[in-house]
């Protein structure tokens, strides 16, 4: 009887520390292998080169020539005979975004609506992919419906 009594009174104390260690080891493993921020998709359509149409009204068109490191030369109208030209920056002031929004205001003042507001984007050989995507992104941000990614001039005949 005595033996049984002592057995019954014995408290069961399991040391959980190794279990916690193991648990956190697994957590760390899953944290590192998981991808939390899922990549997003950005839609891009490019013009079919075989169909030539370059008929946008001069007054509501702006041509952007992308240089290096976010420097962009803009030509309101077409590059050949711009109505106004200057330089804007993608990542600092004077910013491309402000200019595009300002241009929209001027178009609305002149023409009454901005339905023909077109942006022609012309990257150069030094332009990086990031800048191109950022400029395309500006089109989304400033809600410009019509924009075209032009090809390099050298490639054009």
């Amino acid at each position: 009887m005595n033996a049984i009594e002592t057995k019954g009174k014995k408290t069961i104390n399991i040391d959980f520390a190794p279990m916690v260690d193991l648990g956190f080891l697994l957590i760390t493993f899953f944290i590192f292998t998981t991808e939390l921020s899922k990549p997003k998709a950005f839609k891009l359509s490019v013009p079919d080169d075989s169909v030539i149409k370059n008929e946008t009204p001069e007054k509501s068109t702006i041509t952007l020539i992308m240089k290096e490191n976010g420097v962009i030369d803009y030509y309101e109208g077409f590059e050949e005979k711009p109505l106004k030209k200057g330089t804007v920056e993608l990542y600092s002031k004077p910013s491309l975004r402000d200019h595009l929004m300002d241009k929209r205001k001027r178009i609305i003042r002149q023409l009454g609506n901005d339905s023909n507001y077109t942006v022609l984007i012309q990257p150069s050989t030094l332009t990086s992919y990031k800048e191109i995507v950022d400029v395309l992104d500006e089109m989304q941000i400033t809600a410009i419906k019509k924009y075209v990614l032009l090809e390099d001039k050298a490639a054009k005949k």
Binding site: P39, K40, A41, K43, S124, D134, D137, Q140, I141, E151
Partner: protein, 222 residues
């Protein structure tokens, strides 16, 4: 003195049960929420955009280009993606006279999940690799540098021929921040040549700056 003794004798036993509970709760969360990163042989840092559309993961044909301008093609690992990869390999083998064996084509399908970036002529020897060799091998990328030897064009042509002209559902472009425009342009040129004009660029999410037209639009919708 007797008080001090008592404190010193107190055992430091901590009840770990609650701790274990929390640990395993977090563990099960991560186990359920996890989606393993697909194996990639190239490191690509995507640009950011305000686009919030989720990237599709079924039936994907992906063209990646890294900062050095190396171009890779890959397919998703679901049945449709595998079928397309197989079709591409068979067609490419036929068109270019590579005489790929069934084992080599099977390897193409297997490697195409991680990315394939070798010139067409190197394909037969490349497809003899084992999984380990594939991971070690520094792939030179599919040549796209000039319009006369734009081999991405060959890959795309083979893909379209194998599907009978049907364009792949999800064409993704996976570019690195530092890729220079000429490479991107040549990739686009190959797509244009094959009549594919609509893509999805893979980007990571960025907040919409406040006060901009898009921001106003989104707020109106809410």
């Amino acid at each position: 003195m007797s008080k001090l003794n008592k404190i010193a004798k107190k055992s430091t036993w901590v009840d770990m049960t609650a701790f274990v509970d929390v640990a395993f709760l977090i563990l099960s969360f991560f186990m359920l929420a996890t989606k393993f990163k697909p194996p990639e042989v190239i490191k690509i840092e995507n640009p950011k955009s305000v686009s919030s559309e989720n990237q599709p993961d079924k039936d994907v044909f992906k063209v990646s280009f890294d900062a050095q301008g190396r171009v890779f093609v890959s397919f998703s690992s679901d049945p449709e993606g595998k079928e397309k990869a197989q079709g591409l390999a068979q067609q490419l083998s036929k068109q270019k006279g590579l005489n790929l064996s069934n084992a080599q084509i099977a390897n193409f399908v297997r490697f195409s999940v991680g990315g394939i970036g070798v010139p067409v002529t190197q394909l037969p020897s490349f497809l003899n690799f084992s999984e380990g060799e594939y991971k070690q091998f520094p792939q030179p990328g599919i040549p796209v540098q000039d319009s006369t030897n734009n081999q991405l064009n060959d890959y795309l042509n083979a893909l379209l021929t194998s599907t009978g002209g049907r364009k792949p559902t999800n064409v993704m472009l996976n570019g690195d921040n530092g890729t220079k425009y000429p490479y991107f342009k040549n990739v686009l040129a190959a797509f244009k040549k094959n009549g594919i004009f609509s893509f999805k660029l893979i980007t990571s999410l960025e907040g919409v700056p406040s006060g901009t037209p898009l921001y106003k639009q989104q707020n109106e919708r809410k």
